[in-house]
Subunit: 439 residues, 2 copies
């Protein structure tokens, strides 16, 4: 460290969108304090983006410019490359490989790239004794990667779960606050910049799934398995479900959860992203708007909660710069806490035998015998009903809602019961199944 | 790092109470995983405590024993000393000095010692290029020291606040849940082990004040100033206050808060510990039982929340072991994030000109004219009343409660208004002043 102590850490930034501009603004604003804490200055040397002339609210004329991002990643005067281009492959991956293979450090906010190629990049980093850091890839400004790598490092992590997508959380908590339906709130979220023009990646749960796969790898010491994440998004949640959940004492949140299950065939990794009913009073129930929150349960630490802004240029820049400070302090270590070669490759768990309470919502034709049909299917699937509410007759269309909460029971039983209803002429929409998050 | 990579990190533990035994149990239980994450094993070499023969539920016969803690701290076969003796001075301080002056690392859970002597110890550590770490001294198992040192390291921290004492939080949330009065809940907390036999240190707010002074130093880069913390505890809070707060939409929590104020005479440090009204829906309002929670507001990160078990042998051992892993990874750095010599010495701020909403509770004689006397004092102190509730006539004793919530106004005005009531024969107890925590 001594030989580096007086030299600045020289960085290159690839990608100058709102986050890239945010990193520059942060280093400008807090540079003196960062130098004091890091023990040396962090200096931007060179930048690259698609459009050199665009006004970004920060002066980039003082930095060297590279049209070619690979050339940027190979500059001799750069110690660390900051990848803010985005996309799991393409230029982001190419420049990341170029940086690491050249022995430079890499800091990235790119959850898709880490979820798909994180292990390969980490192997390259380990081979080159270079840093690979991605705090900004998960939960924006919340230092949850550091929380797992360092804060809970002495614990067997038994479970990681939380609210990992700010767009979904904004939509669900707005639906709750206003009573509006999904489409209307999504449109408002797009207007406010909380949702992308193409929102599928967020609202279908893919973004949360990518983040979850990264958290699971670090928490459990397992190889990233993004394809193994069971994902369902929030598009089927209606205003009526939120109202019904509210009446029962719950809010609805998109929850990513992961754990390792010991089976007779060895350990298996369960990862899933689902909208869940969360009891009011549970710490995650109070997480509103574009906020993220992650719970990690350790065998000695107990249940720890990390919460904060899940996105935005300021929080994301904060996480990127924290990684840079770690590197400036020579605190590098294995990207996934232990070397990639030692990460366990676990097959995905089959959760059917697990038990949970479940909220089931059916949209059905308003005709005699429908309730009998539904409840018979539950009985035949061995699903025990704790409460059932049939909403008053709808104003038109002859469609009514039936909502049930089950006693705790096997997930497979619910699946079986719903299977018995498949193809029934009584249903006017696919049933919605929302688990109830345990306390 | 390379030369250390295969050698175990050899530690000595001074103090074998529940936390010391917890550290041994943790290293026994999670040793293989810790070795994988730290890159090398962490091995207990020697221990010391008052009573060698006591049954602690862990086998200590395999470790070398030292009757003399100073001798323990000076053993040649020890890299890091873990101080779990407790107490701000005495043996804890003596052995800590011996360890650091001998160039050994020191890990401690001792908030009192750090609050009183942390700067001296950090200077010794810096001079010897040794590690000094105290994650376990603040907020039990929550990695909030690391959160501030590393997670938010790129930010100007504008404010740190939170629930820092599990005993007080247990008592207040139990009073809330049961309607019982302070003394009864305290007795129950003592029976359950959530409160000490001599609870003054906790319930008077001293413990929270010590933790706050440590958080402020790291967050703001200021010298620890524990004597500068304005402290009031929870002993004056009555069941009736909690019921009244509930009716108004609040819970009562003991909050430590710190910020740096820019004044015409330069920056000043405000640190205070007070019971506050916290609006239901605020993240801190849902923090129940012996849980701690810390909020840090950064100029880029936004508002981050760290929450978890605030005490107990498991969580505290988790924090101690996380520090040991950092040291095993050679991730040491300045104990207070920047060298002690660069910490700013700030005079304490005078908060009288600050504005807040306030809950005021008076116990008064049940006789004509008392309300007029109270409200006249408020008027003459320039305190604007938002709402006022006089409780129905008491069953006996002729004492009634008057509770007010003020509009936002200068703190000094409330002090002035209360000064006008000093010595009044209408008051049967000192008024209780509880600020309302801003959202």
């Amino acid at each position: 460290m001594a030989d580096n102590a007086t030299k600045p850490l020289r960085i290159a930034i690839a990608g100058l969108g709102t986050v890239g501009a945010g990193v520059i603004r942060l280093l400008d604003t807090n540079g003196a304090l960062i130098a004091a804490r890091a023990g040396r200055a962090i200096e931007v040397v060179a930048v690259s983006a698609r459009d050199r002339g665009k006004d970004r609210g920060v002066d980039i004329a003082r930095f060297a410019w590279e049209d070619d991002m690979i050339a940027l990643a190979r500059r001799d005067d750069v110690d660390v490359v900051v990848e803010l281009v985005g996309g799991s492959d393409g230029p982001a991956l190419a420049l990341s490989r170029a940086a690491l293979s050249g022995g430079k450090g890499l800091v990235t906010a790119n959850k898709a790239m880490i979820a798909h190629h994180g292990l390969e990049l980490a192997e390259m980093a380990e081979a080159a004794n270079a840093a690979l850091k991605f705090e900004a890839a998960v939960a924006g400004g919340i230092p949850v990667i550091k929380g797992l790598r360092e804060g809970t490092s002495a614990n067997v992590i038994t479970k990681v779960y939380g609210i990992l997508n700010g767009t979904c959380n904004y939509i669900l908590s707005e639906m709750e606050a206003t009573g509006a339906d999904f489409a209307a709130v999504l449109a408002e979220a797009q207007r406010l910049g909380y949702a992308e023009a193409d929102p599928a990646f967020d609202i279908e749960g893919v973004d949360a799934g990518q983040k979850l796969s990264i958290l699971a790898a670090i928490g459990f010491g397992t190889r990233i398995d993004f394809p193994g994440v069971r994902i369902s998004g929030i598009t089927a949640v209606r205003a009526a479900d939120i109202a019904q959940a509210d009446a029962l004492g719950f809010v609805i949140r998109l929850i990513g959860e992961a754990d390792v299950e010991e089976t007779s065939q060895g350990p298996r990794l369960l990862q899933r992203v689902r909208p869940c009913l969360v009891a009011k009073g549970h710490p995650l129930s109070a997480v509103d708007g574009p906020t993220n929150a992650v719970v990690a349960e350790g065998n000695f630490s107990g249940r720890l909660l990390f919460q904060g802004p899940g996105a935005g240029d300021g929080p994301t820049a904060s996480a990127v710069a924290a990684d840079l400070i770690d590197i400036a302090r020579d605190e590098v270590g294995a990207p996934f806490s232990i070397p990639v070669a030692n990460l366990a490759a676990l097959p995905p768990a089959e959760p059917g035998h697990r038990t949970e309470r479940t909220y089931l919502r059916f949209m059905v034709k308003d005709r005699p015998g429908v309730l009998a049909e539904l409840t018979a299917a539950m009985r035949d699937g061995d699903v025990s009903i704790e409460s059932l509410i049939q909403q008053g007759r709808s104003s038109g269309g002859g469609e009514v809602m039936v909502a049930m909460v089950t006693h705790e029971g096997r997930e497979a039983n619910v699946t079986r019961a719903l299977g018995l209803l498949e193809g029934s002429g009584s249903l006017t929409a696919a049933p919605l199944v929302l688990p109830i998050l345990p306390r």
